[in-house]
């Protein structure tokens, strides 16, 4: 009988706190979104699972000696995991469309307005009683507008560790919601005629240009924004391995096994930050709201910049492609293509949207570097 009592005292039933049950429900919700709705399943499935594990009463997953404790400390505390993901993404990215039409970088720049405007908005929320964000917290939240998961995790882990769970969940959720969030904004800011605009075919880009490009990006980052070099450096390493054509086996490994293994553990580690005491705060609701705002402002800024560039340029520019400037590769480019096809069944914008799309990745990495330099530790 005594043994049964000991067992009973170790059960969750005898130890549950309401917050833990609620957070497990959040974990199950993330699993549902990942599996049934296919919202960024590669990340949201491990995050949701990690959220369940971390809230097990007496489970000890996030205490020293627990599995998630190790995974978090080794992978995110050190910033190694997001950097490895970024290297893999670099190895998966083809900059051809951007090199063929470099002005697309301006769309990637404009879309970062979502980040900086949201930072301002988060500070404004300090006027709301009960809400309070420091500049560092505001910057970590604003990066959601960069629509880039590893960048958000990298910055949040350095500026506001305790908000990491909510920020990562918001970033991946909104990236999955791009097909729902973006089209209304894109349609509201453009006329049907503008959406019908077909764009000139892109020139072919030589292998040598593609090899030099990542080195040029790295070089400029070194010169002007060293705080962005971890992110940009690993991204460029991945891209150089891809384009150089001489280290095929390393490039394939970075694109496949290495990114897969890292994704499993990164997801679990992010999930381990979804503990009830860190997540069930009024800040989390504000983060979710600010994230949606950031995405929307970024989309709008991209579209408006594309309209402006179209007026000034002799080549025609379909303003829809500005929406791809938020990054969210390749979902945003696909959404642009879809909205374009709705307006004009012969209008294939996918390749033209890939330019601003990858420019958005660079843009948000640059923005992260600026935030690190100005409000960093």
């Amino acid at each position: 009988m005594e043994k049964l009592q000991i067992l009973w005292q170790t059960t969750a039933l005898a130890n549950f706190e309401p917050g833990q049950i609620l957070m497990m429900a959040v974990g199950v919700l993330l699993l549902y979104l990942a599996i049934a709705r296919k919202y960024e399943p590669l990340l949201l499935l491990p995050i949701g699972f990690g959220a369940i594990l971390t809230n097990i009463p007496l489970g000890g997953f996030t205490e020293p000696g627990g599995l998630l404790y190790y995974v978090y400390e080794v992978g995110i505390g050190s910033t190694v995991f997001p950097l490895l993901i970024f290297m893999g993404v670099g190895a998966l990215t083809d900059f051809g469309a951007l090199i063929a039409n470099p002005r697309m970088l301006l769309l990637g720049a404009a879309a970062q307005f979502g980040i900086f405007a949201t930072l301002f908005g988060a500070i404004l929320l300090n006027l709301v009683p009960g809400l309070s964000f420091t500049l560092q917290e505001a910057a970590a939240i604003a990066i959601i507008g960069g629509a880039d998961g590893p960048t958000a995790i990298f910055l949040a882990s350095q500026l506001a560790d305790h908000l990491l769970g909510a920020i990562a969940v918001a970033a991946y959720s909104y990236m999955a919601l791009v097909p729902i969030i973006q089209p209304p904004i894109m349609k509201a800011l453009t006329t049907p005629e503008e959406r019908k605009i077909e764009m000139r075919q892109l020139r072919t880009v030589s292998k040598r240009e593609k090899i030099i490009f990542p080195l040029a990006v790295l070089g400029l980052t070194i010169l002007f924004l060293p705080t962005a070099t971890p992110l940009v450096g690993m991204f460029c390493l991945g891209n150089l391995m891809r384009e150089s054509g001489v280290v095929e086996r390393l490039s394939k490994t970075a694109q496949n096994e290495l990114i897969n293994v890292t994704t499993i553990f990164l997801g679990l580690a992010v999930g381990s930050k979804l503990s009830s005491d860190q997540f069930l705060t009024s800040q989390t609701l504000a983060i979710l709201a600010l994230g949606a705002v950031a995405f929307s402002i970024g989309t709008a800024a991209g579209v408006l910049m594309a309209k402006l560039m179209g007026r000034l340029s002799k080549d025609k520019i379909n303003p829809l492609i500005g929406a791809a400037g938020v990054s969210a590769v390749p979902m945003a480019a696909r959404v642009v293509n879809k909205v374009g096809l709705e307006a004009n069944p012969h209008n294939f914008l996918l390749m033209h949207a890939m330019g601003p799309n990858v420019a958005g990745v660079l843009g948000s990495a640059v923005a992260a570097g600026i935030l690190l330099a100005l409000v960093g530790p």
């Binding site: 930072l119 500070i123 292998k207 040029a216 054509g245």
Partner: protein
């Protein structure tokens, strides 16, 4: 207290301006760099480019591992044999 918030708001506004400015300046310089790369690549003789090409396809062929090739040929053979 409110003074404090205003000062932070000012900070945030400064970040907004400086941040967007630096993002635009940085990516504009990158536009220039890309044009420079294009110009350089057109300027330089094509020789090294063609030198690279055959070997690149060689390494791509390498990426398809011998076992896959073995699997394929055996599969094709088996398929052929079954057909007959």
């Amino acid at each position: 207290m409110t003074d404090d918030i205003y000062s932070v708001l000012l900070d945030a506004a400064g970040l907004l301006l400086v941040g967007m400015a630096v993002v635009f300046v940085f990516l504009t310089i990158l536009i220039g760099a890309i044009h420079l790369i294009e110009w350089l690549c057109n300027k330089l003789p094509d020789a090294p480019e063609t030198q690279i090409k055959p070997q690149v396809s060689g390494t791509q062929a390498e990426a398809i591992s011998p076992q896959v090739v073995a699997a394929i040929s055996s599969a094709v053979h088996q398929y052929r044999n079954k057909k007959q």
